[in-house]
């Protein structure tokens, strides 16, 4: 699609010719994930997480559709209907545990995917829209996951819904009406569970739509690669099929091994025990914590403990929490360095790893009760989070001296083992270097 040397689709049989002139679906597949899509040859395994995320989304959609056949969205029956699934529906426990842990694995995969993008500068021109669509997907995922967590109507479901919807009441003047509009009442109740179920069912298909847009946008310039330099010629790329389909299939099996191991042997390790207690509006759990994948943002929310500049602490927290995600939309313009890959950016690389540690610390603090020393640690970590993106990144990209870049991807790959340089690939699969 994107490079002139991409293999062209040619229908072989008369039927495929007939089909190609009417509904060129095979051509689309050929050009999107087939031999017709040239991909930089030096992608490492971190580049497989995008495909894994797509797989995780499909698992969620399929298991979710099936669960909806047995689930009952009513405050009186929701909890019991989950237990009906777990005990009476044929293999219901399997499907529900896959859905439950599938959400966690979806987030693991997406977080690795995001940090890979941050490290290799995947958000930079000409892929800004690919990146921004990714941020939109992340936001939709968070909303979907949150609403899904409410559906069992356990204690954490109820109180999570209470806390998250209360965030909106921090907005001056319109906050409380907005909160009531969201939950359809004065507190989370039957109106909440039915609307959350409806949205939880439909949002994954919206995500799927955005994913399609994102893949489309990605196919215009093609993937980045660990060197961050542009593809210069056919010697730099390999066709997606069979090279990357084989690679993706291998990583998929590894992913499935981890997924199955957790879902079948420690299925509740990533959840919270309190959600096996039916919701009780009269008794709050000791510590309300969101699912693990939202903990860093929860820590940011709670880091603001002081009213300042005429803004109450609660509103600061809400603004900062939304800002922490929305600022990612502006990342392509905050980082002005022309070098993409952190492999050639010694200073940025240090801050990148600091950010990784910082987000892990935020996640840890988010799981802890709001007491010292966790509050102060959380405040420092939140400071670094914002400073990293809003202050450090623009300065570093202006003053940093990048390392010399290789001349081409092929040189970067083949130069490592000079002995092999002579044996340039042949056999019709990859064309000879143009030079």
């Amino acid at each position: 699609m994107s490079f002139p040397w991409a293999e062209q689709y040619e229908p072989k049989s008369p039927f495929m010719k007939w089909l190609d002139s009417r509904l060129p679906l095979p051509r689309l597949v050929f050009n999107a994930v087939g031999p017709g899509y040239p991909v930089p040859r030096n992608l490492n395994f971190f580049y497989n997480f995008g495909v894994l995320a797509g797989f995780a989304l499909l698992v969620q959609i399929i298991t979710g559709i099936v669960l909806a056949m047995h689930y009952s969205a009513h405050i009186d029956t929701a909890f019991a209907s989950i237990e009906h699934i777990m005990r009476d529906v044929n293999q219901g426990w399997l499907i529900r545990y896959l859905h439950m842990n599938g959400a966690s694995f979806f987030f693991i995969v997406v977080y690795v995917h995001i940090f890979r993008g941050l490290y290799y500068g995947s958000y930079k021109a000409p892929r800004e829209i690919v990146w921004m669509l990714g941020v939109v997907i992340l936001l939709l995922m968070m909303a979907t996951a949150f609403m899904g967590y409410v559906l069992p109507w356990g204690q954490m479901s109820f109180w999570g819904a209470q806390v998250i919807t209360s965030l909106f009441s921090a907005i001056p003047l319109v906050g409380e009406p907005i909160r009531q509009w969201l939950v359809g009442g004065f507190a989370p109740d039957n109106a909440t569970i039915t609307r959350f179920f409806s949205l939880h069912y439909v949002l994954p298909f919206v995500i799927l739509g955005v994913v399609i847009l994102k893949v489309w946008a990605l196919h215009i310039p093609g993937s980045t690669n660990p060197t961050g330099i542009d593809v210069k010629g056919p010697q730099d790329t390999l066709p997606f099929h069979p090279y990357f389909t084989a690679k993706d299939f291998f990583t998929l099996t590894l992913y499935l091994i981890a997924f199955v191991a957790v879902s079948f042997f420690i299925p509740n390790a990533l959840g919270h025990p309190d959600n096996y207690i039916p919701a009780n509006p009269l008794s709050t759990p000791e510590h309300i914590v969101p699912e693990w994948y939202l903990l860093p943002f929860y820590a940011i929310l709670r880091a603001f403990t002081v009213d300042l500049l005429f803004v109450p602490a609660k509103l600061w927290g809400v603004i900062a929490m939304f800002a922490s995600i929305l600022l990612l939309l502006f990342l392509p313009w905050l980082d002005t360095s022309r070098v993409r890959s952190a492999n050639y950016r010694p200073v940025y690389r240090i801050f990148f790893w600091l950010l990784v540690v910082d987000v892990l610390v935020l996640g840890y603090v988010g799981a802890m009760p709001a007491e010292e020393p966790y509050v102060r640690i959380g405040q420092l970590a939140t400071m670094y989070y914002f400073a990293h993106f809003l202050i450090i990144l623009p300065i570093v990209s202006a003053v940093e001296k990048p390392l010399p870049l290789p001349n081409s991807i092929a040189e970067a790959v083949l130069g490592k083992s000079a002995a092999q340089v002579a044996a340039a690939p042949s056999g019709g699969v990859v064309a000879q270097p143009a030079e």
Binding site: A80, W93, I257, A261, Y276, F304, L334, F386, L390, V413
Partner: protein, 266 residues
Amino acid sequence: MVRLVGMALGLVFCFVLAWAFLVPREATQPDPVKLLHREPKEVSWPHTGPFGKFDRAQLQRGFQVYKEVCSSCHGLYHVHYRDLEKIGFTPAQVKAIAAEYEVPAIDPNTGETITRPALPTDKFYRPFPNEQAARAANNNAYPPDLSLIIKARKNGESYVYSLLTGYGEEPPPGFEVPDGLNYNPYFHSVNIAMAQPLVDGQVEYADGTPATVDQMAKDVVAFLRWAAEPELEVRRRVGLASLLFLSILAVLSYLTYRRVWADVKP
């Protein structure tokens, strides 16, 4: 422009956070309850570990403890009598067990509420019709439903075992146990409304197992684990088979990957 706005915003956030960081904290008293509270004891069961299996005899003993001791206050809402067939009772035994309980029903002729003997298809008998009735009968404490208790508590099995065997200690001097509550350092507030439920020899096991508190606690916890996760054994079996299958598939797909890439990797 983006960078200027961003930097300004970043500085504002950092300023607010730094201020919050520097604000002196009020000195907090260490919570005396926290110092008395203890983590659950380490215990293991035949079904502990990834390859463990339930001991059917133990589950039946545990059911006996539940039935004779716990069930007077604690329900098992999500379990049906028919489920007992899975822990080794015959259909006739299950029918007899169910028939010992009366469940609410509607008289088909008069429409009045009556009770009828429970059937195997019924859910377990509920000791109280609702939370209010349960609280009224229990000095305002609410005996939780036990069908998910093992999953609904952190470290569930060890916790319930420790709680059941954690009675009898004297509270430290100066620590007042409120009226109607009992000291138990494994409970989160160390004062629990439930009085010591198990004493030696409280039930008489048909298989001759000595009914010590420790034994009964272990048995009933095993039964409750089964009640919370009746799928446990089949889950582990399917999981193991899936892992074996996927391991082979991983090796095959790795070899395929290497072979596909054989002619391009330097």
